[in-house]
């Protein structure tokens, strides 16, 4: 009884677990239950039950309600799909003037809007693409095909790669200094001579369109949310879901609304990239000291002057960090958008992976990684750059970057011209190196992969078999063995114990949504893979983080490594694991572990670092040794922050598990992948995305609530 009084929480948790296991044992697996590999809605089978809702037929396998809830939300994806279809193809038809056929045509308004939007995006992308690579679409857009036939010299020639490389280096120099300039130059040269110039520039043009648009929308919405509580409240849930929604899932509705190609990808990229911009804008504006705002007001600023001359410049750094986020999200979307037919590096990567040409995939992946690092470093340098005063500089000093760029522009053109004489009859390597005509190391890597497979096949296979048979299968079976009711009780109970009735309700609603969707079993598989990844990631991350923290230099080094790895689009991680482990669940899990270890490590180091110096000194003066200091002071204080790391780890793991469907797993991601090639897939894709987001949000809610309470209790933050 005394223990009960001393640790009431512990006993509450124990009680919850006992109830959970009791339920698990009390409810037997129905004899008819089996994991359904096919998609239930397409299988017609006399054992299925059927119900109708809002005129939609939902077919499902009925079980005891305690074992699996019936998919009462099964109509939702179909309904979303039909509504979208209706909106696009039937809602509000109007007469529109058609330029090509010179007559009025009746079209649903949304379809017309979507077409115009797509045309606009296509124009923007083409424009930038042609500046970088050359082409004639832009001129045609303003004139006509006949016109270009008559004046063929009007075709845009495209910039020689030397000029773009010099431009990148000069811009890097202006933003950061010699180091980054060197890196930018080398990256560009690498891309060019390895024949990845064209896809890289395609990807870059995609970003150059998507990022500024996302920035403008994000900033605008962020300011609106800052000014109006109501707008902020309306935006908040959307922002929350978008943060845990796998980027991959939003591609599916984009297909329906905007079709296949770069333009659809740009529009959908904005949907993903705007939320972080909004968040950082709000954060930046909120962080402005109130006295600065008052100073602005007392200077007699109107609202506009206050926003443009005081608020935004003062919040400059946070807003530019938002730009950094926008660029990185745009970049990773540019890669993933290959799934809906966007051109560029992602497309090449996808193609290479599909052909199992690991060498080519590796080259494309390396390119993607290098560009990601470059973009990240450049935009961060911009954010951290402080304004300098240039009062007494000469004309040359003030404009030296422009002058250098002009000079390299001229030199580049001369080089390209000279190149036409040197490389007569073959490709002009000083102008643009065509795709696959550069140096390629693909064969070398492919041979390497073959060698690894030949040499280590036995071991890898043995490891694979062991992992799958002895660890993964039983774990999966255990997860699937959970009756739905038991899972609900566990989730809601945890919510109640951590955050009281409010958390319990939120968690219950999120869990119920998934349980009532047709994909509960898949969600459990997703969860099992994510759990496996998260547990191992945390073990590695916490250990590595703690070890690195012991030395200032190694800690800084490790944070740098985390920074770099975090910039890589998740898709890239699949390349090396496929190289080593082939197409198995093991590959996906290893990718998950590698990817999810990043936040675990980072947050551990950051958490340990944030322990105040005063406490260290106090501890040292009390005569603790290093180990005692770690266990008695640093861990307890850093623990809340490490838990936030766990939260991130879960989100990262979920993302990777979903992407892993590309290799072939049986989780929710597989269905998203299927929805991509299904013309009725929009509703399914969106609902699946929301399911994944909700899994993330359940943990997010629990962990954040706990961390909030704990931090308050410890009096930090």
């Amino acid at each position: 009884m005394e223990y009960l009084k001393k640790y009431p929480k512990l006993f509450q948790w124990l009680f919850l677990l006992i109830v959970f296991f009791a339920l698990c044992f009390a409810i037997d697996v129905p004899e008819t239950y089996k994991f359904i590999r096919g998609q239930a809605e397409f299988v017609k089978d006399p054992n299925q039950s059927v119900y109708f809702f809002l005129g939609k037929e939902v077919r499902y396998y009925a079980f005891d309600v305690f074992w699996r809830l019936p998919p009462l939300l099964g109509w939702l994806p179909i309904w979303i799909n039909d509504s979208l279809f209706f909106l696009m193809n039937e809602w509000m038809p109007m007469e529109f003037w058609n330029e090509d056929t010179q007559e009025f045509k009746t079209r649903p308004i949304l379809l017309q809007i979507s077409r115009n939007l797509t045309a606009f995006m296509t124009f923007l992308i083409e424009l930038i693409r042609e500046i970088l690579l050359g082409g004639l679409e832009t001129i045609v857009a303003f004139t006509s095909w006949d016109f270009i036939d008559a004046y063929p010299w009007l075709e845009l020639p495209g910039l020689p790669w030397t000029i773009v490389a010099a431009g990148a280096a000069i811009l890097s120099y202006k933003l950061s200094g010699k180091g980054l300039a060197l890196f930018a130059g080398l990256t560009m040269i690498y891309i060019s001579i390895f024949g990845q110039w064209k896809p890289s520039m395609q990807t870059l043009s995609f970003i150059l369109v998507a990022a500024p648009l996302s920035f403008i929308f994000g900033l605008g919405l962020g300011i609106a949310a800052y000014k109006s509580k109501r707008i902020e409240k309306a935006l908040y849930p959307i922002l929350l879901v978008m943060q845990t929604m796998p980027q991959y899932a939003v591609l599916v509705p984009a297909l329906v609304l905007f079709g296949v190609g770069d333009h659809a990808a740009v529009i959908i990229t904005m949907v993903v990239a705007v939320p972080p911009m909004i968040l950082l804008t709000i954060l930046g504006l909120r962080a402005i000291p109130p006295e600065v705002i008052e100073a602005g007001r007392m200077s007699g600023c109107t609202n506009w002057q206050l926003m443009l001359k005081v608020l935004i410049p003062t919040a400059r750094r946070d807003i530019l960090i938002g730009v950094n986020q926008v660029i990185m999200v745009c970049f990773s979307m540019a890669v993933i958008s290959a799934f809906i037919g966007a051109k560029g590096l992602g497309f090449n990567l996808l193609l290479a992976l599909n052909q199992l040409n690991i060498g080519l995939a590796l080259e494309a992946g390396l390119c993607i990684s290098l560009i990601a690092i470059l973009l990240d470093k450049m935009s961060l340098a911009w954010a951290n750059k402080q304004t300098d005063y240039f009062g007494n500089l000469t004309f040359f000093q003030r404009n030296k970057n422009v002058i250098f760029f002009a000079a390299s522009f001229v030199i580049g053109i001369i080089l390209a011209y000279v190149g036409t004489f040197i490389f007569k009859g073959s490709f002009n390597y000083l102008f643009e190196i065509p795709h696959n005509k550069g140096i390629s190391t693909a064969d070398f890597w492919n041979k390497g992969v073959d060698w690894i497979f030949d040499t280590f096949f036995v071991y890898i296979k043995a490891f694979n078999t062991w992992l799958i048979q002895d660890v993964l299968q039983p774990m999966r079976a255990l997860y699937l063995r959970m009756p739905a009711v038991a899972t609900l009780v566990l989730a809601v109970g945890a919510g109640y114990l951590i955050g009281g009735i409010r958390s319990a309700l939120v968690v219950a609603a999120l869990t119920l949504f998934i349980a009532l969707s047709p994909w509960w079993d898949r969600a459990l598989v997703t969860l099992y893979m994510a759990t496996f990844g998260v547990v191992i990631s945390c073990l590695i991350g916490f250990t590595v983080g703690t070890l690195c923290f012991q030395n200032k230099k190694s800690a800084a080094f490790m944070l740098g490594v985390c920074d770099i790895f975090q910039t890589f689009p998740s898709f890239v991680y699949l390349i090396p694991v496929m190289m080593l482990f082939g197409i198995t669940d093991t590959s996906v899990l290893i990718a998950v572990i590698v990817y999810a270890t990043i936040p675990a490590t980072r947050y551990t180091i950051e958490g340990l670092r944030s322990v105040p110096v005063g406490l260290h000194e106090a501890a040292t003066m009390s005569g603790v040794n290093k180990f005692q200091r770690l266990t008695k002071i640093e861990f307890p204080l850093a623990f809340p922050h490490m838990m936030l790391g766990l939260n991130q780890t879960i989100v990262f793991a979920l993302f990777m598990v979903i992407i892993g469907a590309f290799i072939g797993t049986e989780d929710l991601g597989q269905y998203i992948l299927k929805a991509l090639s299904d013309k009725n897939g929009a509703g399914i894709g969106l609902t699946l995305g929301i399911c994944v987001a909700f899994i993330g949000l359940i943990f997010d809610n629990l962990i954040r609530t706990w961390v909030g309470k704990r931090k308050k209790h410890l009096g930090i933050d």
């Binding site: 006295e291 600065v292 007392m298 200077s299 001359k309 402080q386």
Partner: protein, 343 residues
């Protein structure tokens, strides 16, 4: 008394949702405790006072006493919940947004505790900011800003960024910025509180020098009683939103109105605050010694001279007319004995 510039009549500022309604129901009898129980926090409670042209009113109070809130009501950075505020006869609370902006652009200047400089502008750009907001062209505003740079003694640093300046220098920029539009009314919200003691003293002297030259109407907020005594024409002491006493420094020291005020005055060295006029005997003008002192002299400055006298010392006004006398023992009483019978 000369022209009244700022006039407050029963100003209330109450934070909370139903503040306005609750204030109306209370009929002007605001009790902080009952309001707090209903979720409202009383910032300023029934403040009434006037500030004359060229006068410096120092509002002194500890943190949370409502002194900054009071200042923000008068500059209308927050809207007062009740009462009336007049700036040069204009009803401040009746002004629309445009008129308010005009008033701030031309009549008001404000200095902040944390300097509140714009981090992306240089010193001279910061000072020129209110002028440029007003629409003055770049050249004129920069020229005027350069004058201000000289006035506050920052010549040579005009192209520095705030991050490159020390606290004292940053506050000089803040002061210059607030004066750039030549305002008539000058608000200073704890301008020297964030500075080191030595710099603070230096800035106070500098401030007095400026005020002597400019003769602005000033509301100065501070939590430092010594600072208030040193600078003020009159002091308002605030506690829990209420003005406990509003009087000249000498009267506050000699006749504290409440127990709370008395606690502040206890440690004050009287000889540094009081002038001869405060302690002289105006009735006896006969039997004087040779020494004459001015009635406006601070006691500390003449104490030594007076104490060497055996006879009564004559007190004269600026026209050298004898207006009273002072006994040497009175000085000793004031400096050493005053504390016991001061209240």
């Amino acid at each position: 008394m000369s022209e009244i510039v700022i006039k407050c009549e029963s100003v209330y500022k109450i934070f909370g949702e139903n503040a306005k309604k609750m204030l109306e129901e209370s009929n002007g009898n605001v009790d902080a405790k009952t309001f707090q129980e209903k979720g409202c926090i009383v910032g300023v409670n029934n403040a009434s006072f006037e500030v004359a042209k060229g006068e410096m009113l120092v509002v002194m109070g500890l943190s949370g006493s409502g002194k900054s809130t009071l200042l923000r009501c008068i500059s209308r950075l927050t809207d007062a919940t009740g009462g009336k505020i007049f700036i040069e006869g204009q009803d401040l609370l009746e002004l629309n947004n445009k008129e308010l902006i005009e008033l701030r652009r031309n009549k008001m200047g404000m200095v902040f505790q944390s300097f509140a400089l714009l981090p992306h502008k240089t010193v001279v750009e910061n000072i020129a900011f209110p002028l440029q907001i007003k629409g003055t062209n770049t050249e004129d505003s920069i020229n005027r800003a350069m004058e201000m740079v000289k006035l506050v003694g920052l010549d040579g640093r005009e192209n520095y960024f705030p991050r490159e300046l020390s606290g004292g220098q940053q506050q000089r920029v803040g002061i210059a910025r607030s004066l750039a539009v030549e305002p008539d009314i000058w608000f200073l919200d704890e301008p020297f509180s964030a500075l080191d003691p030595l710099i603070r003293k230096e800035m106070q002297d500098e401030f007095l020098r400026l005020q002597e030259k400019l003769q602005k109407t000033i509301m100065f907020i501070t939590h430092d009683f010594d600072e208030a005594l040193k600078l003020a024409d009159r002091i308002a002491i605030m506690k829990d939103g209420i003005i406990e006493q509003l009087d000249t420094p000498a009267n506050i020291v000699l006749n504290p109105a409440t127990e709370y005020v008395r606690k502040f005055t206890e440690e004050v060295p009287r000889e540094k605050v009081l002038i001869i006029e405060d302690v002289m005997d105006a009735s006896s003008k006969d039997d004087l010694g040779d020494l004459k002192v001015s009635k406006d002299e601070i006691i500390e400055n003449v104490a030594e001279k007076i104490l060497t006298q055996e006879k009564l010392v004559g007190v004269v006004d600026s026209n050298n007319n004898i207006v009273g006398s002072i006994k040497p023992s009175k000085i000793i009483d004031t400096v050493f004995g005053g504390r016991k019978n001061g209240s």
